[in-house]
Symmetry: D2
Subunit: 361 residues, 4 copies
């Protein structure tokens, strides 16, 4: 809530895209925010949202968006917004988010452009909200009073770091992780993946995705420098990611093998218990979008499945199953994350809720 | 060819199932064999094949099968067959294949029942035809003159061992392999996977598949005991397999990371060259079904893809792509194998061609 | 609500099937009902529901069902139920529903067994609740005090009759209707359609479906005899239905051409207005499950689409689009109906709400 | 064959597109033609074909195309071609095909641009090769010695006219036809249909398709004017088409209801016999691509199915099933046509074979 107790005014950049659409659905259901301004490209600006957006979600377009006039992504047009969410494409996100920052907005971004900047939190809100310590440094360095930027991770990274964080917290450092993903098409936006490429098919490449995962995990699971001026990524963990596109609408499946650094690894039962018991600060603060359970640990052998489990916790829970010994490392499991909720728009929104609770807004 | 120079008479057990259907298509195109007898369950026996089989292949039902009368799977009914191919379900394969063996038939089986018996070759015909050395021992131990059994591997194993064999032959022992599969639905037979389980979905479990892969690789890449009485599986290689079912008709995709035992692993270029240059004895003998290239190594970053690459080499080639360094092990790559050709019926047939060329039939 | 003002106790027969699962999700969200008893086959009876049911819906299993003990479908076990919903398979529905009727229960059934019995309402609750007039006759004929049976139609029929009813009411009798359906796989239950039959494929036959549609439309759009003892199906309308199965999870698409009996047919604009303005008695009574709009008429040329429109009105609205002149008849259009909501469980539930509002329970 | 007895030199315009790819596969297997020149946009010109084309067919890229240099679509670059096939997009086909005509080439086109020109044959080669009578008129009117243009129809039209032609020839004029199509994604080219639009979905609109079908049928089933200067479309047949896009790779399914003009329509058995017995002149001339059976009439109730039947007759046969009485018209049935073979490239090639046999080349 804002200082006056009412909902915060939210702007959405890239509002007509698939991530933007998910922002709009989630914000329309969220009592902490009121949709205030929708921004998109010049081509869409000036049109009613329902005419500018090619709607692609199974949830119907919220009424508060239908007739809203789309604005250009110009900070001057977003006066009155307490918070700005960005679902912009990376090709334009760098400049536009930079302009909003310069205009002293609090920006919560899905784009990759600022993720690896040392002073910018790369925050999966059920994992590393301690990285908000970087915000003060950002403001000090730039002389801004209110403005800052918090990014959330690549959609695949979002799922992976959740159990890894729990394991690291409880059992100490991890040494090696091998992960193979089966990623949904909604992650590629619209028109995105051509149907001739994915019907009765698998595409074994997602450009740039593997290196993003391998780097982002280290930053998220790492800490913050002593003076809170920069992140301090892990240096001893090695991650190998292989990313595939599969014919699934929503929900990334990830097959993970983990090796602990400890001489004596935990048992499978200890690992299950650890994942079940994991909680995060956003839950403890009572953030609206924080899931009741960060991870849903399933004992059903053939789960998680994207169609059945992607909506767990409203898309904010990670489902982890098939936890078993790995003949090569210590443990292997399969996880599922909703790539456009916890993996994108939902993470940004929970990041903003957290920021509000902690007085950053 | 038979001793008289004509094609060999082939029987097919389990002829109405999906593997049986593939046998029939492949045999109908193969000059070395003539379809002689089709066997199936009592329910089908006595019917014309076209009425007994619910045909599920895109290739039309061959004319020589359409009106053939289906027989029960009784050795007495298969007199005149020079070779018997089995596409039987594991629930009945043990007894029936055993009966054909006892009746002195040469049996080539896809079923898992005899695969791990030490005296039985588990033979991927482009990989380990040297295991045919076990055949003499089988005969000696049983007192059979002609009869023996050769099995081929699980469909996922078939793809995996091909590059691993090439690497092991050239660069020495492997230490660790992590593989994640994305397996086609045809591997589960008919009716097999329910559509509600796989449309817009992934099933992260294939019962028994992971342990089969982990064990079969060791047997196939291993050798034969000095007296040729038993196989000698590898003992120093560790394999971790994770198997998923995906909405693809034919073609298993496998994401593989490999660690060599050698202190100095080969370079990526050396590995590519090794895979490209790999040849097998079935090729050198001029077997009809042996592919021109055992592996097709692709430089296109987004390949292999099941829809585009499964028919490489008539389904008998393995396509290997995305060969690159692995941040955790030495090399990782993605391979594709046609699960019902090299992964099932095609392997059996090439095994039989090899046996004929070497005088075992 | 019951006479005491609390929610009505609901039993569900066939609770573990796909229609039963939808009943459970919808009832768990419905303030008029409380899930009281879940019945299934002997194989499931005595188990906790979560163990007996193979859950196949994207909505998670409601908590009130998870630990409920499944009962056999025996009326003695359902004492205390105010209403019984049946999602039974037709192979057993005749006997079991008959037994519940004999035991004086109010039965709302999805099964086909009693649909065409003249004294039984075949009721699409947004179309022909006037057929409830048959209930008194049912009771009189059987000597039952409370018990009666109301059926809802085949899922495809449910969608078709909604615009036809509106057109008939406004513009007079229809003469000819040609309809081709593209039906979702969930309509076939579980395991239902094999994935090998529907991936990259269409199945141009749904057993018995076309004749059901052709007959049910006449009964639903017809009336009730003067003495309310039997339905009075239309006799002058001819309907030709062609039914296809398509690779869609939920939502039946139907392409419809209509010829009016009137010499001067209405204009396209009049037809659109008629569909938009159509309302039903269940709405006027304020039934909980009645959609705000019976039909959502879309002007977007490429709608309705199952993935985008099946949840309109919580699955209780029919979406009608592409309303245009037909070169052969008078008008053609495409409609979409959620086959397991308005086409199955949702219709039964709204039928029961209507019955409660009208004092039949 | 050419006058010298060798294969004819073939040029392909739009060679990198999906129709162009099908041309290349079919021509590489056809003894009457030799691939001589491949033309595409300026962007592709000058590159090796394997680098210029994003290959999307399951059949591997033919060797004779791999290293061929792609040319711009300029007639001067196609000297030496005996025949030019066009798989060009309609946005450029008008000008380019016009230029090739002006340069006196024999052009066989899939594009819609010239289809409805009265002097241009719109020829489905198993249906109306009698329309070649227009070629002489074309040449006379233009003063060209060798050049002419023959078009083939829209892919959906190609399937529909085949049984209609047989029925019309045997039983006299048809009065009314209602057809609903379920069309494969390959018909939309590449990238074509976005996967987010078609996974778990149906798109109930294909822009311009319905009016094309409704008009083309009349031209194809009609005749030629007495002086062979123009086509003479049917005037008494009314056709209503509804076109849907479905998640199928190749193969259009069409549900058809037909009313005869005759007072006494034929019986269902007479209709089946008529379709089975239908032959065409291209067969009688022994054209290489003419299928053994123009129509495959199936008695299996659940056929035709695209995955199982699209390759009938090498993709040149139409499969017709479910032939039964229509409660509204006289007969209804379901047909399947391979949309990129008989529905596109295969039709053009057979048209050219026919032209060669008849001395037009």
């Amino acid at each position: 809530m804002s200082s006056t107790g009412g909902p915060l005014n939210a702007g959405v950049l890239g509002a007509t895209g698939t991530v933007g659409q998910r922002f709009i659905v989630l914000l329309s259901q969220n009592p902490m925010f009121r949709i205030h301004s929708l921004g998109a490209s010049e081509r869409s600006a000036g049109k009613a949202y329902r005419l500018a957006a090619k709607w692609k979600l199974s949830d119907p377009m919220p009424d508060e968006a239908r007739e809203a006039l789309v604005k250009p992504c110009d900070p001057a047009q977003f006066a009155g917004c307490d918070v700005v969410f960005s679902g912009l494409d990376a090709s334009v996100a760098g400049d536009i988010e930079g302009a909003f920052l310069a205009a002293d907005f609090a920006v919560f971004s899905n784009a990759k452009n600022y993720r690896m900047v040392p002073s910018v939190p790369l925050c999966v809100p059920v994992v590393n909200t301690d990285h908000y310590a970087l915000v003060a440094g950002q403001r000090a360095a730039s002389g801004r009073k209110k403005g800052f930027i918090v990014t959330n991770s690549n959609c695949s990274t979002s799922g992976l770091v959740v159990p890894l964080k729990a394991l690291q917290d409880r059992f100490g450092p991890l040494r090696r992780v091998v992960v193979t993903t089966l990623q949904a098409i909604s992650g590629a936006g619209y028109p995105g993946v051509a149907s001739l490429d994915i019907l009765d098919n698998i595409v074994p490449l997602i450009e740039g995705e593997e290196s993003k995962m391998e780097a982002e995990v280290l930053k998220i699971l790492g800490g913050v420098s002593a003076d809170a001026s920069a992140c301090a990524p892990l240096t001893d963990l090695r991650v190998s990611a292989t990313c595939n596109r599969v014919p699934v609408i929503d929900g990334h499946t990830e097959c993970v093998s983990v090796e602990f650094a400890a001489a004596t690894p935990p048992s499978i039962d200890e690992i299950k218990q650890c994942l079940r018991e994991y909680t995060c600060e956003a839950q403890r603060l009572g953030c609206y979008s924080a899931p009741a359970q960060v991870m849903q640990v399933t004992e059903e052998e053939d789960r998680p499945q994207p169609r059945l489990d992607r909506n767990a916790g409203g898309g904010m829970s990670v489902t982890v199953g098939r936890i078993r010994e790995c003949p090569v490392f210590h443990v292997k499991f399969t996880l599922l994350v909703h790539n456009t909720v916890l993996g994108a728009a939902g993470a940004s929104i929970l990041n903003a809720e957290y920021a509000a609770k902690k007085g950053y807004l």
